[in-house]
Amino acid sequence: MKANRWITEGRFAQVLLISVALAFLGFFVMLPLIAVFSEALKKGIDGFVEAITNPDAVDAIKLTLLVAAISVPVNMVFGVAASWAITKFSFPGKSLLITLIDLPFSVSPVVSGLVFVLLFGAHGYLGPWLIEHDIKIIFAVPGIVLATVFITFPFVARELIPLMEEQGKDDEEAAISLGANGWQTFWHVTLPNIRWGLLYGVLLCNARAMGEFGAVSVVSGHIRGETNTMPLHVEILYNEYDFVGAFAVASLLACLALVTLFAKSVLEWRFDIHSGARH
């Protein structure tokens, strides 16, 4: 029968596509993930604990947390301000601003790092002035923070601009017509409207801030216990053939990724409920 054949073929294609997708995910995602954890635990729990409590590893973890703790709030403020400006006002140069926000996505992270070296390095444009005033940026924590902020600034704005565009200006105009000032309007009306999108953007921003390698590697100088973030520390340990140490720290980053993924799906679920109630 013609119809039947068609359905059987459909079923076959379905199974094929699903198997291909699963095989692909298994090979590229599950296998490496399992490898990371099994390598990390190769010398047992004790070896793992020893590796991540090593002073250099602890310093790397602390530095990563510090960098994220600075760059994520900075980008949150910048992202909200930029999306607010872009979606609620019209001004000359608006489309240029939108394009510039995407810049870190389109530039290689290594190039982004080099830009900062060029600006603040000893032979850079501002280098002599900085040396004169004894300010260290490149091969120090400020440089790492700058590079991370640069790499991660699109995340929040990219998440918020479409959301705020869709919501329009009506709610804000209503609040202002009822006598609310700018701050009250932002706090009581705009922020609650964008809170899930904002949280989502912050989450992605944080994941990237902690995981960034390229740009940070260029500006860091790899000074153990001082300018090594977790991803850089993983590389150093690996190059020294300390596989357990490298994979133990890497497994922490992998856990971060898993937590991010989990939080992301929770947020998406909340998002759906929220927008469902809206229409």
């Binding site: 009506d170 709610d171 105009e173 209503a174 609040a175 202002i176 017509s177 009822l178 006598g179 609310a180 000032n181 009250q184 009581h188 009306v189 609650p192 409207n193 109630a277 809206r278 229409h279």
Partner: protein, 321 residues
């Protein structure tokens, strides 16, 4: 009294309003009627202070408010899509205008709550205060938006297409309800609509606009019976343009034995209490006639003679003559 003087506004190269002058008396219910792009919403937003004109002034009670922001003008604005704050309950929405006041002007919590309850009673949503806007129907949301606008005790109520997003039945009920509410409160109100029926039914006076210009200001009776321009005649109610540029309403045409205009009948159908006859004039123009449904209608393909009982005519430059 509200007065608008010499208002002009352009959006880039697009002229939205040309030299608008309008006076509105205390307690009047005014409709701004026009097709889309006529500038009616822009004018409403300028009166509210949500938009600022390139030239001209806005006076509220003889006070020049042209430079004041919307929050300082003390106007209630109801948005077409309600613009309710969806994360707040209905009661919180209604109370918003009072709870954002400066501390020394802000009523006590209990007073705000009592006021919100009172307003919800006024808009017949008593007991729904703890719901969220997402849990209400369109008509209920519109009434919450109205209660929220009234909470700040505005001296002027502005409504942008208040029934635009509602279905026909709810629309009709809400229309009647709004008219009664206006009678009861006597608050000066202006609403924007593209629906002539809505304007004629609700408003004390109708402001007909087209291409950023006021075409006519008058009572519904005047606007319908004595349109000031061909545009008004065509936009407000249905109009046939007969030879010689005579504008005649479908119900003002009658069938006569001989003479008058010859009309070829294309289609006949029942339209509520009348027969609606669609036909073609000798010059090719389309004509619509409403006839008494108790009499037999003309047949399809028949040629009838019609003559106007009443008509409007306009001179070459569009002035009523």
């Amino acid at each position: 009294m509200i007065e608008v003087q010499n208002i002009a506004k352009r959006f880039g190269n697009y002229p939205a309003l040309h030299d608008i002058n309008l006076k509105i008396q205390e307690g009047e219910f005014i409709a701004l009627l026009g097709p889309s792009g006529s500038g009616k919403t822009t004018l409403l937003r300028i009166i509210a202070g949500l938009e600022f004109p390139d030239t001209g002034q806005v006076f509220l009670n003889d006070e020049d408010v042209s430079d004041r922001s919307v929050g300082e003008r003390g106007v209630g604005f109801v948005f077409q899509h309600y613009a309710l704050f969806r994360h707040m309950t209905v009661a919180e929405n209604v109370a918003f205008g009072l709870s954002v006041r400066k501390r020394r002007l802000r009523p006590a919590k209990a007073v705000i709550k009592a006021r919100a309850d009172e307003l919800l009673r006024l808009v017949q949503l008593e007991g729904l205060g703890s719901r969220y806007p997402g849990q209400l129907s369109g008509g209920q949301r519109q009434r919450v938006a109205l209660a929220r606008a009234l909470a700040i005790e505005p001296r002027l109520l502005l409504l942008d297409e208040p029934f635009g997003a509602l279905d026909a039945k709810v629309r009709k009920d809400l229309r009647r309800w709004l008219r009664d509410l206006h009678k009861q409160m006597g608050l000066t109100s202006i609403f924007v609509t593209h629906d002539q029926e809505e304007a004629l039914e609700l408003a004390d006076r109708v402001v007909v606009m087209d291409h950023g210009v006021i075409e006519q200001v008058g009572t519904p009776e005047q606007v319908y019976m004595e349109p000031a321009s061909p545009f008004v005649s065509k936009f407000v109610g249905e109009t046939n343009v007969l030879s010689g540029g005579l504008h005649v309403r479908p119900h003002d045409l009658e069938i006569i034995e001989s003479g008058g205009e010859r009309v070829l009948v294309d289609n006949v159908f029942r339209k509520c209490g009348t027969w609606r006859v669609e036909g073609t004039l000798e010059n090719g123009g389309v004509v619509e006639i409403d006839l008494d449904a108790s009499l037999p209608p003309p047949a399809h393909g028949e040629t009838v003679h019609v003559s106007p009982r009443r008509s409007n005519s306009f001179s070459q430059d569009g002035v009523r003559s």
